[in-house]
C-alpha cells in the first residue's frame, strides 16, 4: 500500500445532516460525523438508534432522504460505483453463501471486486489462514459455526484491501475468546492504515478499538469525542465501598466525608457507599487509613473511574445492552459486576 509518508489529516468519511425516515419512523434525524483517514470511529447506540441505517447509507445500500455522505471524497449517491470499489462492508448479519466453501465464498467476492483470478485465489488463501479458517477452507460454509461465519464474512470484506472498512456490530454473537481475536484483527487493520467505522453496543469494544466515538440515540448524535472526553462528561472518580453490616454505612460515610468532593451515596440494599473524590489513589489510601480507625467491616473497597457504561447511562437514560460479563474497574482491577445488565 502506498500511503503518503507526510500525515495529511483528511477525512475518509464525511456525513452531513443525514435524515432517513421509514414511514412514520424517523430513523436518522440529522446525523453529522467525520472519520479521519486511517483512524477508527466507534458508532455507539442502543437498539434502534440508527447505526445500521448510517452504515447502509454510507455503503450505498440505502438512499438518505436528506443530507449527504462522502467516502474517500466520493459522493455515495453520484459516485456510488467508485465508493463501492473503495469500501469493504461487513453487515450486521453474516452474509456468506452457505452452499459455497469458505474458499469459494472469498474467491467469488474477490472476482466481483474485479481482482484477477490468480490474485483472488492467493488472497483468499491468505485471508483464510489469517482468520484461522484454513482447516475449514474447503467445507461448505453451511457447516461453519456462527463465529466462523462471522470471520469469513469479515475476510470477504477485506479481500480487495479496501481503504475504508465498515463493520456493523462485528463481534455481536461471538464468545469472549473469539471477540478478543476479532479485536486483534481489527486493531491490526487499523495499524495498517485502514480507516474503520465500526458500530457496536459494547462500550468496552469501542473503548478498546476506537480513536473517537459518536454516540447516537433515536437518530441523533448525543455525544462525541474520545473515550476520555466522554468519560469526563459523566463526572470524575469515586471510592466505592461495600460493608458487611448495612448499619455501618452511615459510620463509613461520616468517616470518609473529608475526602468527598460531592455528597456520598448510600445504598442499603447492596450495602454500598459511593464517595466522589478527586485525589486518585491517594484518596484510596487515605480512605483506607481512616476506616482502619473504626470497627466498620469492609468487604470491598476500590477506586472507580467512570467507564462507558456510565457514559451511556448518563447520556441516554438507559443502559447499553450488555451480555452478562462484568466490566473491569479501570484503576484497581477490582471486578465490578455488570449492574447495568441487559435491558432488551
Amino acid at each position: 500500500m502506498d500511503r503518503p509518508s507526510v500525515v495529511v489529516m483528511t477525512d475518509a468519511i464525511v456525513v452531513e445532516g443525514l435524515v432517513k425516515r421509514f414511514g412514520a419512523t424517523t430513523a436518522l434525524d440529522g446525523v453529522d460525523l467525520t472519520v479521519a483517514e486511517g483512524s477508527v470511529l466507534g458508532l455507539l447506540g442502543p437498539n434502534g438508534a440508527g447505526k445500521t441505517t448510517v452504515v447502509r447509507i454510507l455503503t450505498t445500500l440505502l438512499l438518505a432522504d436528506e443530507g449527504r455522505a462522502e467516502v474517500v471524497g466520493l459522493d455515495v449517491v453520484r459516485q456510488a460505483d467508485a465508493v463501492r470499489a473503495s469500501i469493504g462492508l461487513t453487515g450486521q448479519y453474516a452474509a456468506v453463501d452457505e452452499y459455497l466453501t469458505g474458499f469459494e465464498n472469498l474467491e467469488m467476492v474477490g472476482r466481483l471486486y474485479h481482482l484477477p483470478k490468480a490474485d483472488a485465489r492467493s488472497r483468499s488463501r491468505e485471508l483464510l489462514e489469517r482468520f484461522d479458517l484454513a482447516g475449514a477452507a474447503d467445507r461448505p460454509a453451511k457447516t461453519y459455526s456462527g463465529g466462523m461465519r462471522r470471520r469469513l464474512d469479515i475476510a470477504a470484506s477485506l479481500i480487495a484491501r479496501p481503504r475504508v472498512l465498515v463493520l456493523d456490530e462485528p463481534t455481536t454473537g461471538l464468545d469472549p475468546r473469539s471477540r478478543l481475536v476479532m479485536w486483534e484483527f481489527i486493531a491490526d487493520l487499523a495499524d495498517g492504515g485502514t480507516t474503520i467505522l465500526l458500530t457496536t453496543q459494547y462500550l468496552e469494544e469501542a473503548d478498546r478499538l476506537a480513536d473517537r466515538m459518536v454516540v447516537i440515540d433515536h437518530g441523533r448524535v448525543i455525544a462525541r469525542g474520545t473515550g476520555d472526553e466522554l468519560k469526563a462528561q459523566v463526572g470524575g472518580q469515586r471510592l466505592e465501598l461495600t460493608v458487611r453490616r448495612s448499619t455501618d454505612l452511615a459510620v463509613a460515610a461520616e468517616c470518609l466525608r473529608p475526602l468527598a468532593v460531592d455528597a456520598p451515596r448510600l445504598d442499603e440494599q447492596t450495602r454500598r457507599l459511593t464517595v466522589p473524590v478527586s485525589g486518585g489513589v491517594d484518596s484510596l489510601a487515605e480512605g483506607l487509613r481512616r476506616l482502619e480507625g473504626t470497627d466498620v467491616e469492609i468487604l470491598d473497597l476500590g477506586l472507580r473511574r467512570p467507564d462507558l457504561d456510565d457514559v451511556f447511562l448518563t447520556l441516554t437514560g438507559h443502559a447499553a445492552e450488555e451480555n452478562g460479563g462484568g466490566t473491569t474497574d479501570d484503576e484497581t482491577g477490582t471486578q465490578v459486576p455488570a449492574a447495568t445488565g441487559g435491558i432488551r
Binding site: R56, T59, T60, L61, L62, D81, A82, R84, A85, I87, L89, G91, Y93, A94, A95, D97, E98, Y99, L100, E104, M108, V109, R111, L112, Y113, H114, P140, A156
Partner: protein
C-alpha cells in the same frame, strides 16, 4: 461505469455460484424432476386410456411436449424463490455493496436456472423415450423445439425475479407464483386438445402463450396429430412466432423492471 465485458464476467461468476448450489444440493433438482416424471407416468398410464387423441399420434407423444412446457415454466419459479432467499440471507446486500455490474446477480440467476431447466428437460425426455415418446422430425427442428421451451422459461424467470425482489419471503414467492402458474399451465393445450374446453376457457387457452409454446414444441418434434384441426386462431397457426413475440415482450418489460427493483431493493 461497468463495461459489457465486466457485466459478462460478473454474470459468469454469479452463474457459477448458483450452479455450485445445484451440484451441492442435488435434492432440489431431483425433486424438480421427479414431479414431471410422475406427471408423465400418471397421465400416460392413469388417464392415458380415458384421454383419446384422434389419429396417428399416441397420447404419450401428444403429452410429452405439454409436460415439458409445464415443467420449465414451473422450474422458472425457482428464480423468484432463490432471489428472495438471497435477500433474506443478506447476500443481495453483500452483492449490492460490491463494485459489480448491477444486472449480473439477476443474469447469473436466470442463466443458472435455465441450466437446471435444461437438465430437467433432459431427464424427462429420457423418461418419455421409455414410455413411448418419439421425435419424428429432423435434428435442427428438435433442437428448435427445446430452444423455444428454454427461451420461454428464461423469460418467465425474469418475471419471477421481479416477484422475488418485491415479495421477499421465499415461501410466499412460491405460493404467489403458483397462483399464476397453475392456470397458465393447465388452461392450455398442455394435457388435452383444446376441443374439450368450454368456449370462455377455450379462448383464454388459445391465446395463452403456454399453449403456443407447447404447440411449437409438438410441431417441431413431429408430435402433432394430423387428425386434430389447427384452431382458427393466429396464435396457434403461428405458434413459434407467437411464442417468440411473448419471449421478447416479457424480456423487454421485466428485465428493466427487475434490474430497477434490484438497484433499489433494501433487504428488510
Amino acid at each position: 461505469m461497468t463495461t459489457l465485458g465486466q457485466t459478462l464476467s460478473d454474470s459468469a461468476t454469479i452463474t457459477r455460484r448458483n450452479l455450485i448450489k445445484v451440484k451441492r444440493v442435488p435434492d432440489l433438482l431431483v425433486f424438480a424432476t421427479l414431479s414431471p416424471i410422475m406427471f408423465v407416468l400418471l397421465f400416460r398410464y392413469v388417464f392415458g386410456g380415458a384421454i383419446q387423441v384422434p389419429g396417428d399420434v399416441s397420447y404419450a407423444e401428444f403429452l410429452l411436449p405439454g409436460i415439458f412446457a409445464q415443467t420449465v415454466v414451473f422450474g422458472s419459479t425457482i428464480t423468484g424463490y432463490s432471489i428472495a432467499e438471497d435477500l433474506q440471507k443478506g447476500l443481495i446486500d453483500r452483492f449490492r455493496s460490491l463494485p459489480m455490474s448491477r444486472s449480473a446477480v439477476l443474469i447469473g440467476r436466470t442463466v443458472a436456472d435455465a441450466g437446471s431447466n435444461s437438465i430437467s428437460i433432459a431427464v424427462m425426455a429420457l423418461t418419455g423415450l421409455v414410455v413411448g415418446w418419439r421425435i419424428h422430425s429432423s435434428v435442427p427442428e428438435a433442437i428448435g423445439g427445446f430452444l423455444i421451451l428454454l427461451l420461454f422459461a428464461f423469460a418467465i424467470s425474469w418475471l419471477m425475479a421481479l416477484v422475488g425482489l418485491l415479495v421477499r419471503t421465499p415461501e410466499v414467492v412460491n405460493n404467489a407464483s403458483f397462483i399464476v402458474i397453475f392456470p397458465l399451465t393447465f388452461v392450455a393445450n398442455t394435457f388435452v386438445p383444446l376441443e374439450t374446453f368450454s368456449p370462455v376457457l377455450r379462448t383464454f387457452a388459445e391465446w395463452n402463450p403456454v399453449s403456443a409454446v407447447a404447440k411449437s414444441a409438438r410441431d417441431l418434434f413431429g408430435n402433432t396429430p394430423a387428425a386434430i384441426p389447427v384452431p382458427e386462431v393466429w396464435s396457434l397457426q403461428n405458434p413459434v412466432l407467437y411464442s417468440l413475440i411473448w419471449v421478447v415482450v416479457i424480456l423487454a418489460v421485466f428485465v428493466p423492471l427487475s434490474v430497477r427493483a434490484y438497484r433499489r431493493t433494501a433487504s428488510r
